[in-house]
Symmetry: C2
Subunit: 217 residues, 2 copies
């Protein structure tokens, strides 16, 4: 399809409870196809009929597996976000390394993912949806909470003198800084080629601020 690396597996399907194997495969095809349309053409184009057609199946079959569009969207988000959670859960358990080094590697991984087509295209859609849909809002920020956790841990090692709240502030800034790169240096964005340089700046900046941050009282 696109690039080969695929940092994050596209979808993490929920466990199959009952039903035939065929149905499970069909549901996976449906969600994968829906995700593809969402990424390539946007949320507006992701209609039930459009998904069914792209799957090569009839509308009736689609609505058999996902009775309403809301059901489909919820399951799609769950599957997509779960795959990111899985990824960030398995990351950076590299003990023995200095916290600075682990911070660098973690940020590198996140920024590399931000440069991927999937993430660059998907997350702006999620951010827009989250502004008008409580379920999406909840699920997206739950993901960010988990992605921030290892960051907070590393910061805690580097700055045991700081309160938990101040560590969170630092993690928030770092997290937000990286996410913001999506729009400017993400996949096919105007400054995608500058990503390596900006990444260096970002990581240097993050280490500096974590080392030197002195909260105002």
């Amino acid at each position: 399809m696109d690039g080969m690396p695929k940092l994050v597996t596209d979808l993490l399907m929920p466990d199959r409870d009952g039903g035939y194997a065929k149905g499970y495969e069909t549901r996976e095809l449906i969600l994968r196809t829906a995700l593809h349309i969402l990424i390539e053409e946007g949320y507006r184009a992701m209609s039930m009929r459009r998904i069914a057609a792209a799957c090569g199946m009839r509308l009736g079959n689609l609505t058999y597996h996902y009775p309403t569009r809301e059901d489909l969207v919820r399951e799609l988000l769950n599957a997509v976000i779960s795959s990111y959670e899985l990824e960030f859960g398995a990351i950076v358990h590299a003990p023995g390394l200095a916290p600075e080094e682990r911070l660098m590697r973690l940020c590198s991984l996140i920024i590399e993912d931000i440069g991927s087509k999937k993430t660059t295209r998907l997350f702006p859609e999620l951010w827009a949806l989250a502004n008008h849909d409580a379920f999406v809002y909840e699920r997206v920020h739950e993901l960010y909470d988990r992605a921030r956790a290892p960051l907070v841990e590393i910061i805690a090692e580097m700055r045991p003198d700081l309160s938990e709240a101040h560590r969170l502030d630092l993690a928030l800034f770092i997290s937000a800084s990286m996410e913001g790169l999506t729009v400017f240096a993400g996949y096919q964005m105007p400054f995608a080629q500058r990503m390596p340089a900006v990444e260096q700046i970002a990581i240097r900046s993050f280490i500096d601020i974590v080392r030197s941050y002195l909260p105002v009282l």
Copy 2:
């Protein structure tokens, strides 16, 4: 409506060429109403009929002023983005101040704007649209180019030793960092209350990195 400050005037209408004053007012009402729906309910809800109804007019009249939905969206984006461009064009012409001080003020203004309901809600929609619409992509990044210009200027004063490309890299990082705050600490976002603390971290971090950045060869 919401908060009173209104950093950026909502819309900058194009000059009226021909037509009655009534028509001009109607077009302004249409775009203002469309923007309101876009912010409150998202792009999907912004249908021609929905806009017409919210304006208290008939669909036929709406399509008289904007024959196609695409026309309306284009004009809306032009008007909205123009108002931001006007804002950032008139900003931070405060000579006599140290560049660090001007950098701080500029970033404060941008971050304050990011915390507003309008910007927090509007820009994620624009980012998502830009991924699937060349016109929106063009217009949004044109806006960012202009918003980055004063940043690059200040960086040039602080770091005359750097090449233009490296100044741009720094400006990109700073710009992206701030935009990223939208999702985490923007209007009604989970960490909106931490915005002041994160802003302090951001600005300290920006000044540090601009002062100390040493590009790799």
